[in-house]
Amino acid sequence: MKHRIMSLFLFLQTLPTLCQVRPASLQAAPDGQDALVLTVRSNYPIRDSVRYLNENYGWLISYEDPIYPDVEVEDISIPQWKKAHPGERGFLTPIFSQVRFRITKPSGSKGEQEKILGELVDQFNRLGRQDTFIVIPKPQNRGVVVGSVNGREALQAAVVGPETRIRTEAEELRLLLEGCSARTQIPLVAGTIIANRNLTLPPRKAVVPCRDALLAVAIQGGANLVYQILEDVNNKTYVVNIGPSKVIVQQSQ
């Protein structure tokens, strides 16, 4: 095991000469019968852990990036670029980190998602970083892991008003991105949307939090869809991605 980590470490150290993008990895190892140790190397350790749980245990957890403070952002553009483009911005990304989490192994029991996600974010929050996470359970066995810095979340408590028209997913997404951006003063943009964007949504009866409205778009687009809001640190925008919690393959030929 030590050898493997050492060799990986050496490999990572050699990357910058080719490209400073470092490959993410997540290793899950059992720790006794009832626990898992997740070793995550990533710019997004919490997101990747959530993705692991979604993909391996069929969970439907959405994710929101914190608004990363400058100290937790690094420029990973290659030296050749910097040299050829003096004065231009490089490429900013959340710092790459390695984090190890010990969590209860999911067993399918009722209420375990909230508990296990709580364990995950508790351990992350004790790292002393400015960005911290909370878990917000949602109906239909869903939840959202929300990042914040000094209590400030990307979506804050933004709400959108009632909408009586029957809208397609695409229209609703556009309305939400505009409406929620106006409320949060943080530009939300459409990211990778893997959903049937032509499905229609029923009227929205009341003022609802943007978070719930986005979740409704994801749910309406497909039973296994979740959203991920990730900060584009370079453009100071928040990218709303909607896609399957796990890519389902039905091989026929």
Partner: protein, 806 residues
């Protein structure tokens, strides 16, 4: 900090004690359960086509306790209107807004359960006063019926507290009025079911402002001087979500009797006339009126005997109610006049020229010294909820009195049935002329073992049941029918009214089968030889709720819109209000040598969630020997680039529309194509640190063959023809295109890059429900390639032109 707050909530929920005991109590409260079986479909018929179904969504019902608690008597009636098990998660909120999560309740199909709720709470050690209970289930709106009977005065009569739904409200205004007996006191409960605090303004008899925290219930008590005031009124207004504040209350006369304060949202009123269905002529009766408008309103009262096609009537002289004023009317004299004519019950209609938001009213009948009945006095239900599903109870001394009144000036027809003990009992179709009330004497037909149209009986041993009514399809008025059942028990000291509307989905019909002209070959899309003539029968819906009506109808009498047979295929036809009609052509191999085509029409009233009440199935001929339009499995398909995406309102000019033509020997129009992944996709543009998630899966979309996908914007632009489907939109969004163009070089990553997919395509035949999706094309290659100046999208080796985009 926020984390800690939320954790506390979780901890409280986990810390709730005695949940298991309460679960046992609730389970034991169920009347001896029996499995109700749905009626089999009509034998020998062609398989039903898939009907448009509404998605199962999260539903919430609020039951308002107005401060009543575990020390009081509280009955809960739960009505499962689903033809299957329905699981309900109740969360009880104390007056302070603290929640107590209760164990889930499983209701059997069509079960009506009566629970002694306060007793269950006491057995479980849950004490205190409560504001409301949230009933949460996954399903459709109004699939669960619920009502409380509260007993604010110990040992006295019960008070109805009907369920409260978000759809009951269109504004943040509420209003109520009530007769005030001697020594009257009132309790008004302002419940905030939302997660945000609201400031509530009370006006009318009392002017004040009350802050109500999330999930909190604030009680306002008043004592009245009966020498000075005989009717009260309260108006409520606030800023916040339209469904945040649920107001309810009751009036008590000393320690003798009490009755509810039924608040309503004037903006949600459907019509100016108000109707109180089936008042007893023998009971002292009080009417309270409140004029909410700034001008005087004239009105008169019209009483009409129930259960008669030519009812005896009494009309009172016209009167005027001043602006913003209350009035108490004692109508005992008018009712006695009817009683002297031999009338036992009458429906009261308040006829006025005021606006639909102008008046609110209440009707209260004194049935005994300690029991009064508050009869809902209100406009008819909105069209989409103009039907009912009421509980029936035959335990102890319970009696049931279902009635349906037609307050419109147009005759209508109502169909009604009882579901009890696994049997569906059909009443004959009932004509309800204007201003008459139909009575459905369920207790008598049960006691007398009166057979229905199919020779069935209401089982004598069924302890409970359900009474369903609905207007015949395509009534010609938008509103007008009001239903109510009175569930009476002297032992339980209750005369409860159940009158809530019901979801139209559950009246979905395969209706009707038409006679056909199969006069010739179908030549072109805009020429149909088929025409509607006579509907020969109804068949059951998917819930097994009704059997066949062996009755013939002339479709022209059912209010169907007339179709121009030469243009019926052009597009959907918009009708007024919430209706929509559309047409479709199905084809079939009729005989051995020629293709013949039959006409299918679909017609629906659109419901709350976009589904349709009524739905026409495939046509067939009288001799029942035409073949159902076929669906061949395609051998393959060809694909054709059409255009860059135009109508997508999220602005995806970087995606491309492709149209497919099936290579098939049959006619697949009306069937459905669905895509899936034959293998996981690959996004070579993505790199660690990109805020754009990998583009590595198809979306799982579905398309209608040979037609427009309803509601799909891009499909309106690219209209598939015969045996065609699409558009299949392929490509990255604009955001990732620019992002990867701008940033990959900064990381030493090259362009072009792209996403590739292996698409799996299945077909689901519209005419054969038993036949599931069949893969006709697997491993179909899709790709989207980003370069330094734009994008190119491909499907089955057919590619869009390079689109410049930077």
């Amino acid at each position: 900090m926020m984390l800690l707050t939320r954790r506390k909530v979780f901890a409280r929920r986990r810390g709730c004690r005695h949940i298991f005991l309460l679960w046992l109590a609730l389970s034991a409260a169920a009347t001896l359960g029996f499995a109700q079986t749905t009626q089999p479909g009509s034998g020998g018929k062609k398989p039903l086509p898939p009907r448009p179904t509404a998605p199962m969504t999260e539903q919430h019902i609020a039951l308002l306790f107005a401060g009543q608690g575990s020390a009081d008597k509280i009955l809960v009636t739960l009505n499962n209107n689903r033809a299957g098990v329905l699981s309900v998660t109740p969360t009880l909120y104390r007056l302070t807004g603290q929640s107590v999560t209760l164990p889930s309740i499983e209701l059997q199909q069509s079960e009506s359960r009566l629970i002694d709720f306060a007793q269950s709470l006491r057995h479980s050690g849950i004490q205190g006063q409560f504001g409301y209970m949230d009933l949460n289930y996954s399903g459709r709106i109004m699939e669960l019926g619920a009502q409380l009977t509260l007993y604010p005065l110990f040992g006295r009569g019960g008070v109805d507290s009907p369920r409260s739904l978000s759809v009951d409200f269109k504004s943040t205004e509420r209003a109520v009025t009530a007769w005030l007996p001697e020594d009257a006191q009132s309790v008004i409960a302002l419940t905030n079911v939302s997660a945000q605090a609201v400031l509530v303004r009370l006006s009318g008899d009392e002017e004040t402002t009350v802050a109500v925290a999330p999930h909190e219930t604030v009680l306002r008590r008043r004592v009245f001087d009966s020498n000075k005031i005989h009717a009260m009124s309260v108006e409520v207004g606030y800023d916040g979500p339209v469904d945040a504040v649920r107001a309810f209350g009751y009036v008590s006369e000393g320690f003798n009797k009490s009755f509810p304060l039924r608040f309503s949202d004037p903006a949600a009123s459907t019509s100016a006339p108000l109707t109180a269905v089936g008042l007893r002529t023998s009971a002292p009766t009080h009417i309270a009126l409140r004029n909410l408008q700034g001008t005087a309103a004239s009105y008169h009262l019209h009483f009409a005997e129930i259960g008669s096609l030519k009812p005896k009537v009494v009309d009172t002289p016209a009167e005027t109610l001043e602006a913003l004023s209350n009035q108490e009317l004692t109508i005992t004299k008018s009712l006695k006049q009817l009683g002297d004519m031999g009338v036992e019950r009458a429906t009261l209609t308040l006829v006025t020229q005021a606006t639909s938001k102008g008046l609110v009213a209440a009707a209260t009948q004194e049935l005994a010294s300690d029991l009064v009945e508050d009869v809902p006095f209100r406009p008819s239900n909105p069209r989409r909820f103009m039907r009912g599903a009421y509980p029936l109870r035959w335990t102890g001394d319970y009696t049931n009195h279902p009635m349906v009144a037609n307050a419109s000036d147009i005759p209508m027809t109502v169909r009604a049935y009882v579901i009890a003990g696994g049997t569906t009992y059909l009443f004959p179709l009932r004509d309800v002329p204007a201003n008459t009330t139909a009575v459905f004497d369920v207790d008598a037909v049960r006691a007398n073992k009166t057979p229905d149209l199919n020779g069935k009986f209401i089982p004598q041993d069924a302890p409970f049941g359900k009474f369903h009514w609905a207007p015949m399809i395509s009534t010609k008025t938008a509103e007008g029918l009001s239903g109510r059942t009175e569930v009476f028990s002297a032992a339980d000291k209750r005369a409860s009214s159940f009158s809530c509307g019901f979801m139209c989905d559950y009246d979905t019909d395969e209706f009707p089968y038409f006679d056909l002209y199969l006069a010739g070959l179908y030549k072109a899309p805009n020429q149909s030889p088929a025409r509607m003539t006579t509907a020969t029968e109804f068949i059951q819906d998917g819930y097994g709720n009704y059997g066949n009506y062996p009755i013939s109808y002339d479709t022209s009498k059912l209010g169907y819109p007339s179709f121009d047979n030469t243009s019926m295929l052009n597009a959907s036809t918009s009708l007024a209000g919430d209706q929509k009609a559309w047409a479709r052509v199905d084809s079939g191999n009729y005989g051995t040598t020629s293709f013949r085509y039959v006409f299918t029409q679909e017609f629906g009233t659109q419901s709350e969630d976009g589904s349709y009440c009524t739905y026409g199935g495939p046509s067939t001929n009288e001799s029942n020997n035409s073949q159902v339009p076929g669906c061949a499995i395609p051998d393959d398909e060809s694909t054709q680039y059409i255009q860059q995406v135009l109508a997508d309102t999220t602005a995806v000019p970087t995606a491309s529309d492709f149209l497919q033509t099936l290579l098939t020997v049959g006619n697949d129009d009306g069937s459905t194509i669905t895509e899936g992944n034959n293998a996981a996709g690959n996004d070579s543009c993505y790199f660690q640190g990109s805020p754009y998630s990998p583009f590595n899966s198809v979306s799982g979309s579905s398309w209608l063959i040979g037609g427009i996908n309803p509601g799909q914007a891009e499909s309106q632009v690219v209209v598939p023809g015969h045996n065609q489907w699409g558009p299949d939109e392929i490509g990255y969004g604009a955001g990732p295109v620019q992002y990867y163009q701008q940033n990959r070089a900064r990381l030493g990553l090259s362009l072009p890059c792209g996403a590739t997919f292996s698409q799996n395509l299945t077909i689901t035949c519209s005419q054969t429900q038993e036949q599931g999706p069949i893969t006709y094309k697997g491993n179909n290659p899709l790709s989207s390639t980003i370069d330094a100046t734009g994008i190119t999208n491909c499907r089955s080796s057919r590619c869009s032109p390079h689109t410049n985009y930077q």
